[in-house]
Amino acid sequence: MPSAASRLIPLRLLAVRALWAYPALRALIAVVAAFTVTATGREDAAFESPVGVVIIAMLVGAFDVRRRGESLLWGNLGYSAFVPPAVFGLVAVLGELLLATMRA
């Protein structure tokens, strides 16, 4: 019977992808936010909220698995369709916490 830790080991693959995706996503959101502020003159950064970033990261995680055609692979590994978005979301939460700490 595999241990609880060994059940999590395959998720490293998703975590590595999330670690690449999060900075790219964060940079993209920052650029779009800066562009919007410049274009409209409004200091409305609501869409740059940490919760919004985490939700977008989760959507990216779901899309990434779909794009790669891995739904059945992860299903056969016993992970539900919510697991890949959750891993991407978790990495985004940690990233946002790190950013908040650096800003403080």
Binding site: L13, G69, G75, L77, G78
Partner: protein, 235 residues
């Protein structure tokens, strides 16, 4: 005979106005290779998807180890020992095969990834990306995943599709290996000679329902099966 490991019992399924299955049943028996035969579009793949929890039936039940599952899903069934091989690729195209075999080895602590690769004869593709493999190599690589998982039940949808006859024997050997390990194997397809050669039991899917025809020799004596599907087929 022991009770079947996995049963999709009396299931029905419609897509829009088209009723594909009226009362189809699929039984996976430990230690046996069962083949599900039938014409195109008759509902074989749908029945298999329902048994694997990939598609939900309109009516009927899926039972694993005799326990009815209210809303079966692939992840839940996979954790209980199922491996589902669809009629399209399941390997991630850009991740090396060895890495993907390791995922199953680490997740389920079944067979070592190296041994699974050796049994499926894909050791030399260990570092290759699945996108670089041919159809037959890809099918063997996917079966290596199943071997690494050491499943209690394997549902394989058209595993011989689009591959050279020489690879049929290699795939059949893997199915026999799994059954010898106690796995309940169910496969579909239209390569009747290869399928009957590897089968212990034949199930015929027709007119929205299924018939258990028994051993291949017995199945071929079934007049309607011979007339409507297996014309001229001999063992």
């Amino acid at each position: 005979m022991n009770a079947p490991l996995l049963v999709a019992d009396c299931v029905s399924k419609s897509f829009g106005t088209r009723r594909v299955l009226t009362a189809g049943s699929l039984r996976a028996q430990a230690g046996e290779v069962r083949v599900l035969l039938g014409r195109n579009g008759i509902g074989k793949s749908t029945l298999m998807k329902i048994a694997a929890g990939v598609v939900q039936a309109d009516a009927g039940t899926v039972r694993l180890d005799g326990r009815a599952m209210l809303s079966p899903s692939l992840p839940v069934l996979a954790r209980a020992g199922l491996f589902y091989l669809p009629d399209h690729d399941i390997l991630s195209p850009r991740v090396p095969l060895g890495t993907q075999l390791r995922l199953f080895e680490q997740r389920f602590a079944g067979r070592s990834a190296e041994e699974a690769a050796r049994l499926a004869d894909v050791t030399h593709f260990w570092a290759a990306q699945p996108s670089a493999l041919s159809g037959g190599e890809l099918r063997r690589a996917e079966l290596a995943l199943a071997l690494s998982r050491r499943p209690r039940c394997l549902l394989a949808d058209e595993p011989f599709r689009g591959i050279a006859p020489v690879d049929h024997d290699r795939l059949s050997a893997v199915f026999r290996q799994l059954a010898a390990d106690g796995c309940a194997v169910v496969i579909t397809g239209h390569e009747v000679h290869s399928l009957l050669a590897v089968a212990d039991h034949v199930t015929w899917c027709t007119s929205g329902t299924t018939y258990e025809l028994g051993a291949p020799a017995t199945a071929l004596e079934h007049e309607a099966f011979q007339r409507e599907y297996a014309i001229g087929v001999q063992l």
